[in-house]
Amino acid sequence: MASNNLVIIGNGIAGITTALEYRKLNPESKITVISGESQYFYSRTALMYIFMGHMEFENTIPYPPDFWKKQKIDLVFDWVEKVDTNSKILKLKNTDNIFYDKLVLATGSISNKFGWPGQDLDGVQGLYSLQDLELLEKNVLNAKKAIIVGGGLIGIELAEMLHSRGIHVTFLIRENLYWNSVLPDEESKLVVHAIKSEHFDLIRKTNLKEIVDNGNGRVSGIITEFDQKIECDFVGLTPGVSPNVSIAKDSNLPIKKGYLVNKYLETEITDIYACGDCAEIVKDDGTSKIWPLWYTGKMHGEVLAQTLSGNKTEFKMGVFFNSAKFLDLEYQTYGDVFRDRIGEKHHYWQSEDKNHSLRLVEKEGVLIGVNVMGIRYRHRVCEDWIKNKLTIKKVLTLLEDANFDPEFSKKFEPEIINKFRGAL
């Protein structure tokens, strides 16, 4: 048993999936999951719903507390301060040291802060963890006006959260349109439309210069790069996230941005692995990539459990997919949808009310990507189309198969097919 003690740092989706999948393959092994953030695994994506009163913390826990006992997975509620890779010991903040045989780093992300003056004032914060949510409750107690810096998926969630408490929101974004680094212009415009419908303000093409102190260590406003001053009593910093590698410093773990791993999620130190947001996967050509997504965290866990159990398995993304919700606007994406790439043809449709859209991306005559907003599409169907390299013409004959909207919903496919056929 001695060589069978698996310790996982981090109980987010990547760490927990590793633990559960590993348990399936190794019914007798000792598994320990350490987290200082939360005693039990909760759904990080549901943080916003707790704040908005859609759910309580208990509702965001996918498995009841006694489940972990039944699965014989030991939970340690503490922060890891240091990894001693030579003697395979973890130093914890409050409790006794833990020995490991194999170690998985699944420490997730931290919110980006770019060294802005005033970024550590009271009333200024990002949103990633339970502790951030606790802080937010305190920070917005008497807030009336908030500024959100950075327009991504967390930014729009934070805006919706603040809006639910009657706080006015102003976005400060670098681009001209919302999340335009990822979304093509048309979809970005739909998001802007949704933002305007809720009467949020949007300041475009503007960077933050500094955050202003009210004299008591609390935020009183911001100054933009154009020296425009905007008053506010809360600033949300959501310009993306970076791997949380805080324990690497004293532990000589190999890092660049994240923990460096190969395609099997192994670090160069034997018996140490990393997965999820914190892993930076170095490809064969020397470039590296971080996958800071819920879904990839889950996939990493599944793959890593195989490798840990002796069945060395490579992480392959397969047909990419992701989803989000911008206020009331649902978004799903499958395959490759990039802006302005040479050699690709985009077929785009949107409804007159700007609440629904579909984009099919064509390359060398076949479908390579799907973007859909305000309509639900079937994951497996879109995936099959892309995997099997269907032509757009063929996809149009099958388009209705992909629709996953509730029964009796208005079907947009006839209109879409009509439009796209005309352009073929």
């Binding site: 005693q39 606790e134 639910s164 996953f404």
Partner: protein, 479 residues
């Protein structure tokens, strides 16, 4: 559970739209009138002359008008979409003081209603008489006969379904499944459970509810119920046939094609009230595994009880009531009181704000038990899970009125085929990632990932709690 304390800081109250405010006052005045009418005989006062159209308009009329205006202006300026903000901070919806008070009020009403005769016998002043008098003009208009307490109950019930139905229509104006389903329960309540029975009375025909069948309405296949109708000519014969056809033919056929939802969330009056008046309380259903075990024991016990009682009654009837004498009558009375009145009424509806809106449907209703067995073993219905898109957020499980842990299936990409699911479709509506959809598909594909069990095996597993075990085991032993 956790050391983390969040979501407990008092949320700021949502701003009440200006135009909605006067309607709140109007509704309040209506309730005030109703309260005065209710209390004045007890206090031996005579402030309002009730039993005429004026007092009916000033009480129930103002309540209908005011609440509809309130609901309308609360939704008028919102963007269509899921609006669940602050539900868990809300006193009414989350077992606060208002929620408890409301629960006690409805429970009190049911007790007064069901114990009406007993209260009279005990010499307690008949509490409902002034209210019954108040709705009398409506009863005279519809049926030409004086109102009784059941007419009063029907009036309140129908009002609740219609008013809160309008709320559902506005809340889900982005979702046509929800709208059509809500219109359906409103239609069946108003037409088949209120107007048609009154009309039948007016034309001196037996009072009959075409949307209730055995075993939910056991009388319709009890010997005395059938005999009562056989004496009523061709209309009575039609009603007997209707009841038999609905129970033994329509139920399995419709459930095969659509799942139990064709009845539970589209037609049934109990379901209709749960889906309208009960909607604000759906998140209070118990999601624990213990509740699931209790559910399966209780609901199947009630089903067995009513089957047993029905057989006994017919056997006894066949032998000219010679073999069992008074026992069958006692059994029927016992069922009618404890199951029909206390369970389905007092607990089923009275405890809406505390236990959620489907307590009777989930733990007690024998009709739901039959529909559930059919749904699980012999139906095309399932909730489909969309690939790997689940983010485990928990909205589906939280807002499931039947207490199904929808997420447990969704997060492992497994379709949901549960006997208790009434197909309300709210899990799919609240899902922020478009992961769930109600579907009628091929029976053998996509329903059970594993075996296609026969109905008896399913009931047996269900009662022996095997399913939970095998499912959780499956999750961690197979890939």
């Amino acid at each position: 559970m956790s050391l983390i304390q969040i979501g407990n800081v008092k949320a700021k109250k949502n701003k009440i739209p200006t135009l909605a405010k006067p309607f709140a006052v109007i509704t309040f005045i209506g309730f005030l009138f109703l309260a005065v009418i209710f209390f004045q005989p007890l206090l031996k006062l005579k402030l309002i002359n009730f039993g005429n159209w004026a007092s009916l308009t000033l009480s129930l009329g103002l309540i209908v008008f005011g609440s509809l205006g309130w609901i309308y202006y609360n939704f008028a300026n919102t963007i269509p979409g899921i609006k669940h903000n602050n539900i868990f901070f809300n006193s009414t919806m989350r077992r606060g003081l208002i929620g408890w008070s409301f629960g006690i009020l409805i429970t009190g009403f049911y007790i007064v209603l069901y114990f009406y005769e007993k209260f009279k016998a005990w010499g307690i002043p008949p509490l409902l008489d002034s209210l019954i008098q108040t709705v009398n003009p409506l009863s005279l208009l519809l049926s030409g006969q004086n109102a009784d307490r059941w007419f009063l109950y029907g009036t309140f019930y129908t009002m609740a379904v219609l008013i809160m139905g309008v709320r559902m229509l506005l809340k889900y104006r982005h979702n046509r499944y929800q709208q059509i389903r809500t219109l359906s329960v409103m239609f069946f309540q108003l037409g088949f459970a209120f107007l048609i029975p009154a009309f039948l009375k007016a034309i001196k025909q037996p009072e009959f509810y075409f949307t209730y069948f055995w075993p939910l309405k056991p009388d319709y296949l009890f010997p005395w119920g059938v005999k009562n109708l056989t004496g009523k000519g061709s209309v009575g014969m039609f009603m007997i046939c209707w009841g038999i056809v609905m129970t033994f033919i329509a139920t399995p056929v419709l459930t095969y094609f659509f799942g139990k939802r064709w009845y539970c969330s589209w037609v049934c009056g109990c379901g209709g009230l749960a889906e309208t008046l009960g909607d604000p309380f759906r998140q209070n259903s118990d999601k624990s595994e213990k509740a699931w075990i209790l559910e399966r024991w209780l609901i199947h016990s009630v089903l067995l009880a009513i089957i047993f009682i029905t057989i006994l009654l017919w056997t006894n009837d066949y032998f000219g009531r010679s073999i069992l004498g008074g026992f069958t009558y006692t059994a029927k009375e016992w069922y009618g009181f404890y199951i029909g009145a206390i369970f389905s009424g007092v607990i089923g509806v009275g405890f809406y704000p505390i236990l959620g809106s489907r307590v009777w449907c989930r733990f007690g209703c024998p009709m739901a038990a039959i529909l559930g067995i059919l749904q699980r073993s012999f139906s095309k219905f399932r909730i489909t899970v969309n690939g790997d898109q689940c983010i485990s957020c928990g909205n589906c499980s939280t807002y499931c009125e039947m207490g199904i842990d929808v997420r447990a299936y969704a997060q492992r990409g497994e379709n949901i085929v549960r006997s208790s699911c009434v197909g309300c479709g709210v899990c799919a509506a609240v899902c922020p990632r478009g992961v769930l959809a109600l579907e009628n598909g091929p029976r053998k594909i996509g329903r059970f990932t594993g075996s296609n069990k026969n109905p008896l095996a399913i009931i047996k597993d269900s009662l022996l709690n095997r399913e939970i075990y095998s499912e959780s085991k499956k999750q961690y032993s197979e890939k």
